[in-house]
C-alpha cells in the first residue's frame, strides 16, 4: 500500500487486514503505562488540514506519536496557504523537507488524489517517497472514518458481513456516508441509506446499497444505525423546510431508538448536533458506540500508518 485515498482501493482482504492490525495494536497497548511503540521511529508524518477538525487531526497525531513517528501539524490558516501558496507548492515543500507521509483534509473533492499523483511524479525531484492519506476531501471520501466505523461494528456486533447497517441523514454532503457505503459493502454488509430525496447525491442508484425515505420503517430490522451530521456549512440552498421538521422526520429520538432491535448499535461520526440528528439521551445511552468510535479511530489510524510506513517500499 503506497497511499490511502479511497476505500474503493481496498478489497475485502486488505480492509480486513487493516482492521486486524488495528485490533492487534489495541492489544499491544492494552493496560500499559507506556503507550509508545518504537515502530515508526525516524519517520515524519505531517497533517495538512485545510478544513476544521478536532478528532481526525488529533487522532492521526496521537497515532503517529504512539508509534514514535515525528508528527507535525500544518493548518491552512497560519501557514503560507494564507499568503496564496498553491496546494501543489505546499505539498512539494513538505515533501522536500522529508515528509514520509502527508495526511490531508481539503474542501475540494479529489484533492488527495491530485496530491498523490504529484507525490509519485515528484519523488525523483524531492528525493522522498511521500505517502498520501486522505483525511476527508470535500464531499468525496473519508476512508479512515469508514475503517474505524467498521472496526467499531466488528467489536460490537462480532462481524460486519451479513449485518444490515442504516446510514441516516445528510448523505449528499457526507464523505463519511460515501466511504462507509463502499467499505461496508466490500466487507459483506447490507447498507440502507435513509434520507430526504433532497439530501441524496446524483448517482446514488449505482451505489451498492438500498435507498429509503422512511426511517421508522427501517429501524426494526437494523443491526446498526449511523446518524450523519447535517452539514449546514456546505448547504447553499433550502434542502429541507426547517431544522425542526428535519429533526422530527430524521432525528434519532428516544421513541425512534426504541424501535431498534435490542442488540443494535448507534454510531455517529461526530461532531454531533445534539437535538438535531440525534437526541442527547440516545447519544449517551448504552447502545451508543460514539466514544468507542473515537477510541478505535486512533488504533485504525495507527494501522494505516503501519501499513504505509513500517515496511520496505513495495
Amino acid at each position: 500500500m503506497r497511499h490511502l485515498l479511497s476505500v474503493t482501493d481496498l478489497d475485502a482482504a486488505a480492509a480486513t487486514g487493516l482492521l486486524d492490525t488495528a485490533d492487534r495494536l489495541k492489544q499491544a497497548l492494552l493496560g500499559r503505562e507506556v503507550r509508545k511503540l518504537p515502530t515508526l521511529r525516524g519517520r515524519t508524518v505531517i497533517t495538512m488540514f485545510y478544513e476544521n477538525s478536532t478528532r481526525t487531526r488529533v487522532s492521526f497525531e496521537i497515532a503517529g506519536k504512539w508509534m514514535s513517528a515525528d508528527t507535525v501539524n500544518v493548518s491552512a490558516s497560519g501557514s503560507s496557504v494564507a499568503k496564496g501558496e498553491s496546494l501543489r507548492d505546499t505539498a512539494l515543500t513538505l515533501s522536500a523537507m522529508g515528509a514520509d507521509c502527508v495526511i490531508v483534509r481539503h474542501p475540494a473533492s479529489g484533492a488527495a488524489h491530485r496530491l498523490a499523483a504529484w507525490a509519485d511524479r515528484d519523488a525523483g525531484t524531492t528525493g522522498t517517497r511521500t505517502s498520501i492519506v486522505n483525511a476527508g476531501d470535500g464531499t468525496h471520501e473519508h476512508p479512515t472514518q469508514a475503517l474505524l466505523d467498521a472496526a467499531t461494528l466488528r467489536d460490537r456486533l462480532g462481524s460486519v458481513a451479513g449485518r444490515r447497517i442504516g446510514i441516516v441523514g445528510d448523505v449528499l454532503h457526507s464523505r463519511v456516508a460515501r466511504s462507509n457505503v463502499f467499505l461496508l459493502a466490500t466487507l459483506g454488509a447490507e447498507v440502507v441509506l435513509v434520507a430526504p430525496p433532497t439530501l441524496l447525491p446524483v448517482g446514488v442508484a449505482e451505489w451498492p446499497c438500498r435507498v429509503s425515505h422512511e426511517l421508522d420503517a427501517e429501524l426494526p430490522a437494523l443491526d446498526a444505525v449511523m446518524m450523519l451530521r447535517v452539514q449546514a456549512e456546505r448547504m447553499h440552498g433550502a434542502f429541507f423546510p426547517s431544522s425542526r421538521e428535519y429533526a422530527v422526520r430524521f432525528g434519532l429520538s428516544d421513541e425512534r431508538a426504541a424501535l431498534l432491535p435490542e442488540h443494535a448499535v448507534v454510531l455517529h461520526p461526530g461532531p454531533m448536533v445534539r437535538g438535531m440528528e440525534i437526541a442527547p439521551s440516545v447519544a449517551d445511552s448504552a447502545r451508543s458506540a460514539i466514544l468507542a468510535q473515537v477510541a478505535n479511530g486512533v488504533h485504525v489510524r495507527m494501522a494505516v500508518l503501519y501499513h504505509l510506513l513500517a515496511g520496505a517500499p513495495e
Binding site: G17, R24, L25, R32, V34, P38, T39, G311, A312, E314
Partner: protein, 197 residues
Amino acid sequence: MATERRGDSAGAAAPDRELLTAADVTRTIARIAHQIIEKTAFEPDRADDVVLIGIPTGGAVLARRLAAAIAEFTGTAPAVGAVDPTLYRDDLRRKPARALEDTAVPEGGLDDRLVVLVDDVLYSGRTVRAALDALNDHGRPRAVQLAVLVDRGHRELPIRPDYVGKNVPTSRDEQIVVLLAELDGRDGVALRRAAGA
C-alpha cells in the same frame, strides 16, 4: 522465529531429516516443564510468581503446552500469555509490512514476576531481543528467562537460552521446520536443506 516454520513448498528438493518425532516433542516439553519447576522454584501456592510468555505463533502454543505440563506435575498452572515482538523488530524496513500477531498479557501484568519467554526456534536472537523490548514496555519483570524447543546456533546478539529442548548444529542455508499439532495437525521437528543447496 516465525519464519522458520511451515514453509514447505520451496525446499521440496531434498528430503527433510527428522530431528524430533511427535513422541520426542512431548517428552522434550515435559522435560523443559520439569526444569522450569526446578529452576524457578515453582510452588503451587506462589504460582502467581511465574508467567510463561510465548512468542507467536509457535512459542505461544509451546507456552500453553508447558503450562499444561507444569499443571500436571504440580497441580497448578502458571499464568500464560503471548507477546508479539513484530512492532519492535530491527528488520521491519527490509520487508513489506508484516501482519501482526496476538499479544495477551495475563491479568496482573508483568511487574515483579518471573517471566519465562518461550519460542520454538532460537537462531540469530533478534526476535528474542525484540520480545525483550516489548516485555519491557509492558512492565518490569523480576527476571526474564528463555525457553526454546530448538537452538540452532548462529547467534548475532549476546542472548543465551535457560532451557533448551534440543541443540541442533545447522548451516545458515538449512531450515528448521517445527510442526505443532495445534497449528499443523501433528508434532515434529525436521531439518531441511534449502532448495538448490
